[in-house]
C-alpha cells in the first residue's frame, strides 16, 4: 500500500495539512460539537430542575439527564476535541504525514460506537449512575462497555499521535526539538495513556460484575482506582488547554515562549505529579491514612500547582512581550488594553486563562486540602470548582481555537461574525458567575446531585437558609446565560461549516512530502539569546496580575481555615 503523502498548504496561515490528518481533525471536531450540543441541551434541563422556582423534571428523569450531561460533556465533547488537537499538534505543526491513518479511523469509529452505546445505556433509564458510576450501585452492562470502547478508541488515537512524532523525527520534517505546543500535547497524551490504563483496571472488572462474572466490587477500591481514571482524565484537559493557550498566543500575537526551559519544565511537572491529584476525591473516605492523603493531594508538595502557576504567568507574559515589541509599551497595561478584544480567538483564550486561574485553580486547591475538604466534600462547591476548570478553562479554550480552525480547516468564513465576537463573553462570564454561585451554595452546604433542595415531603426535612436559595436561583440564571453562549457557539460553528462562504484558494496544491513539503532547515543559532535583559523587568504587567492572583489565593485559603476552625472539633 502506498503511503499517502498528500499535503495542502493553508494560504492564510502557511500551515500544512496532511490529507488524512485533516479529515480526522475535521471528523473529531464535528463529533465533539455534536456531543457538546447533546450535553448542552441536557445541561439546560439540569439547571431548570435545580432551580427551585421551576423544578422542571421528575426525579428519575433528572438523574438520567445529569448522568448523560456529565458523560457527554466531560468525556465525549472534550476527548473528541482533544483527538483533533493531538492530530493537529503532531501532523500539522510538524508538517509531516499522519502515522497509520487506518488505525486512527478505527480509533475514531470505536469512540463513536462507545459514545452511542453509553448514551443508549443511560437513555434506557437503568443506568442513572452519574459520571462516577460508583459501585456497588450498578448500571446496565452497555454503560461500562460503551466507556471501554470509547477508551480503547482514544488509546489508539494516542498511539497514532506518538507514531506521528516518530514519523516526523525519522523523516526529518523539523529541526531540533518539537514545538512547545506539540510538547504540551505530548504531555496530554502521556497522561491520557496512564488514565486509560487506570480506567481499564476499574471498568473492565466492573463490566464483568455487571454481567455477573465477578461477584463483588469493594467500594473503597472502586473509588481509589476509579479516580485515578476520573481525575486524571481531567488532567489531560489541563495539559491540552494550556497547549492551546500557547498556540493561540503564537497564532494571534506571534508570541514566542518567554523561556522554553521553564514552560517545558512546567509540563514535565504535570506528567510527574498531576495524577496524584486523584486522591482529592478520597479525602473524606475511611480506610486511607492522613499521610497518604497529604502526600498525594499535595501532588507531592504542590508541584503540579506550581506548574499551573508557571503557565498562568508565562502565557500572558509571552503575549506582553510580543505586544511590547510591537510598540505597546505605555504603562503597565497598554499591551493588554490594545489586545484584539473583538477577536474571539483571543478573548476566549484570555477569559479561559483568567477563569481557570482565579476560579478553578484557587477553588481546586482549597477543595483538595485535606482538612478543608470536610467543608465542601460532595456539596455544590465541587461542581462549582470543576465548571470553572473544565468549562471556563478547557471548553472555552477549545471554543476559541475553533474560531481559528474554521477558516483554516474547513475553508469557510465565520458566519455571524458579530455573534461570534460576543460569544466568549456571554459564555465565559455566564459560566464564571454560574461557578461562583455554585461554590457559594456549596459553602452553605447545599449538596450536589440532589433533585430537590426544598426537601418537600421528607419525613425529617432540612431548612436551608434563604441565602442558599438566592445563590441557587442566581446560579440558575447565570447557567442559562452560559447555555445561551454555548448555543451561539454551536450556531456559529455549524452554520459556518455547512453554509459559510467558501474561502477560495487559488494557490491550492497538494504536494508530496519528499518533494519539498518539509521546511527549509533553519539556521541553527549557537549563541545564547533570550529575553534576559539585565536591569529591567521584561513583563511587569503580567507580574502585577500574577501578584493579584497570589494575594487572592492566600486570602481565600486562610479564610477557609478560619471557617474550619469554627466547626465542631473532630478527630
Amino acid at each position: 500500500m502506498a503511503i499517502n503523502r498528500m499535503f495542502r498548504t493553508c494560504p492564510s496561515t502557511g500551515l500544512q495539512f496532511h490529507q488524512p490528518a485533516e479529515a480526522l481533525i475535521r471528523w473529531n471536531a464535528v463529533a465533539a460539537v455534536v456531543s457538546l450540543l447533546v450535553g448542552g441541551i441536557l445541561g439546560l434541563l439540569v439547571v431548570l430542575t435545580r432551580w427551585p422556582a421551576l423544578h422542571l423534571l421528575p426525579a428519575d428523569a433528572f438523574y438520567q439527564a445529569l448522568t448523560a450531561h456529565g458523560l457527554n460533556m466531560l468525556v465525549f465533547w472534550i476527548i473528541f476535541f482533544e483527538m483533533a488537537v493531538l492530530y493537529f499538534a503532531a501532523s500539522t505543526l510538524l508538517r509531516c504525514r499522519l502515522a497509520t491513518p487506518h488505525m486512527a479511523w478505527l480509533g475514531f469509529w470505536l469512540m463513536v460506537a462507545g459514545a452511542l452505546l453509553n448514551n443508549y445505556a443511560v437513555w434506557r433509564g437503568d443506568s442513572s449512575v452519574m459520571f462516577t458510576s460508583y459501585a456497588p450501585m450498578g448500571a446496565h452492562p452497555t454503560f461500562y462497555l460503551g466507556l471501554i470502547l470509547f477508551a480503547v478508541g482514544a488509546l489508539i488515537g494516542c498511539f497514532v499521535f506518538l507514531g506521528t512524532l516518530a514519523v516526523a523525527k525519522a523523516e526529518k520534517t523539523y529541526v531540533g526539538s518539537v514545538p512547545l505546543v506539540t510538547f504540551g500535547a505530548l504531555t496530554a497524551c502521556i497522561i491520557a495513556i496512564f488514565t486509560i490504563a487506570s480506567g481499564a483496571i476499574i471498568l473492565i472488572p466492573t463490566f464483568l460484575w455487571s454481567v455477573g462474572l465477578v461477584g463483588y466490587i469493594d467500594s473503597l477500591m472502586y473509588r481509589t482506582v476509579w479516580w485515578a481514571f476520573g481525575h486524571s482524565s481531567q488532567q489531560i484537559n489541563v495539559s491540552a488547554h494550556v497547549a492551546v493557550w500557547y498556540a493561540i498566543a503564537a497564532i494571534v500575537f506571534g508570541a514566542r515562549p518567554m523561556n522554553e526551559k521553564v514552560s517545558r519544565g512546567a509540563f514535565l511537572l504535570y506528567i510527574l505529579f498531576l495524577q496524584l491529584a486523584s486522591a482529592h476525591h478520597l479525602l473524606a473516605d475511611p480506610g486511607l491514612t492522613s499521610n497518604w492523603k497529604i502526600f498525594n493531594t499535595s501532588y507531592a508538595f504542590y508541584l503540579a500547582v506550581l506548574a499551573s502557576m508557571v503557565h498562568g504567568f508565562t502565557v500572558p507574559g509571552a503575549i506582553e512581550l510580543a505586544q511590547r515589541e510591537k510598540g505597546y509599551t505605555k504603562g503597565l497595561f497598554e499591551w493588554l488594553r490594545k489586545a484584539p478584544w473583538g477577536n474571539p480567538v483571543f478573548s476566549g483564550m484570555f477569559i479561559s486563562l483568567v477563569g481557570f486561574g482565579f476560579l478553578g485553580g484557587i477553588s481546586g486547591v482549597v477543595l483538595g486540602t485535606e482538612q478543608l475538604n470536610l467543608l465542601m466534600h460532595n456539596t455544590f462547591y465541587v461542581p462549582g470548582h470543576f465548571h470553572a476548570t473544565v468549562v471556563v478553562g478547557t471548553t472555552l479554550a477549545f471554543m476559541a481555537l475553533t474560531y481559528f480552525l474554521i477558516p483554516v480547516l474547513f475553508r469557510r468564513e465565520l458566519a455571524f461574525p458579530k455573534l461570534a465576537q460576543w460569544q466568549p463573553y456571554v459564555f465565559g462570564i455566564g459560566m464564571s458567575v454560574f461557578s461562583l454561585f455554585m461554590m457559594g451554595a456549596g459553602t452553605l452546604g447545599v449538596p450536589r446531585r440532589h433533585w430537590d433542595m426544598t426537601m418537600a415531603g421528607n419525613l425529617l426535612p432540612h431548612e436551608w437558609p434563604g441565602t442558599a436559595y438566592l445563590m441557587v436561583g442566581l446560579m440558575a440564571l447565570a447557567g442559562i446565560l452560559a447555555i445561551v453562549g454555548g448555543a451561539i457557539y454551536i450556531l456559529v460553528t455549524v452554520w459556518s461549516v455547512f453554509f459559510g462562504k467558501r474561502i477560495e484558494t487559488p494557490d491550492f496544491k497538494r504536494v508530496s512530502a519528499r518533494d519539498g513539503a518539509a521546511p527549509a532547515p533553519q539556521p541553527v543559532a549557537v549563541s545564547l539569546t533570550g529575553h534576559g535583559s539585565a536591569g529591567h523587568m521584561a513583563a511587569p504587567g503580567t507580574f502585577v496580575l500574577a501578584m493579584v492572583l497570589l494575594v487572592s489565593f492566600v486570602l481565600y485559603y486562610f479564610v477557609n481555615w478560619r471557617y474550619l476552625s469554627s466547626v465542631w472539633p473532630l478527630s
Binding site: 456497588p136 514566542r256 452546604g445
Partner: protein, 181 residues
C-alpha cells in the same frame, strides 16, 4: 522568530537564560506551595478538625447488631409516625449511625461540650454524611466502619443530609441530630 508552534530557535534551548521576572514568580509560587503543604501536617498537630484514621472492615450484620444494642440501652423516646428511636448515650460512649436506602438510623441526641465516638457505616451503597448547618461532610462506605471523635459545641437541632447520590429517593434521606445541654 519561532513561536510556540515552531521548533525552538536554539537547538540547545535548555541553556537559554531565564528572565529575572520569571525566576521571581517561580520562587514566590514555590514558597506559597510549601506553605500550603505544611498547613496540613500543622493542623494535625495544632488544629482541632481532622478526620480520624480509625476505620475497620465490618459487615452489615455486625454493625446492625452493635447499633441495636445501643438503641436497646439508650433510647429515650421515639419520633415520627415510623417511631424512629432517639438515643441519648452517655458522654464518651460509642454512638452508631446506620446509613441505608434511604434513611439514617437511629436519631441521636448528644450533649454540648462532651466528646463521643461516632461510628458511621453504610448497609448498601455509598452515602454521604452531611451535617447541617455545621457543614461537616464525610463519605460513608458499605463495609467500612469509620470511627470519629466528635465534640458538639452548640446546642440545637442539626440536620443530617445524604450528599452522595444513592438512587432515586436520595433527596429523602435526611435525619436530625439533637445537641442538648
Amino acid at each position: 522568530m519561532p513561536t510556540a508552534i515552531d521548533p525552538p530557535k536554539n537547538r540547545v534551548w535548555w541553556k537559554d537564560p531565564v528572565d529575572k521576572v520569571e525566576i521571581t514568580w517561580i520562587v514566590l509560587a514555590l514558597i506559597w506551595c510549601l506553605i500550603m503543604f505544611f498547613m496540613m501536617p500543622y493542623w494535625h498537630v495544632y488544629g482541632k478538625q481532622n478526620l480520624s484514621n480509625e476505620a475497620y472492615r465490618s459487615t452489615p450484620e455486625l454493625f446492625s447488631r452493635k447499633t441495636q444494642e445501643m438503641v436497646d440501652k439508650y433510647t429515650v423516646r421515639t419520633e415520627t409516625d415510623q417511631k424512629i428511636p432517639v438515643v441519648h448515650p452517655p458522654a464518651g460512649s460509642d454512638v452508631y449511625l446506620i446509613a441505608r436506602l434511604w434513611q439514617w438510623w437511629p436519631l441521636v441526641e448528644l450533649e454540648a461540650g462532651k466528646s463521643y465516638r461516632l461510628h458511621l457505616m453504610s448497609m448498601d451503597w455509598l452515602h454521604g454524611f452531611s451535617l447541617q448547618p455545621e457543614n461537616i461532610n464525610i463519605q460513608v462506605h458499605p463495609g467500612y466502619e469509620h470511627v470519629l471523635t466528635v465534640t458538639p459545641t452548640k446546642e440545637g437541632t442539626y440536620s443530617i443530609v445524604c450528599n452522595e447520590y444513592c438512587g432515586i429517593n436520595h433527596h429523602t434521606m435526611t435525619s436530625k441530630l439533637y445537641v442538648v445541654k
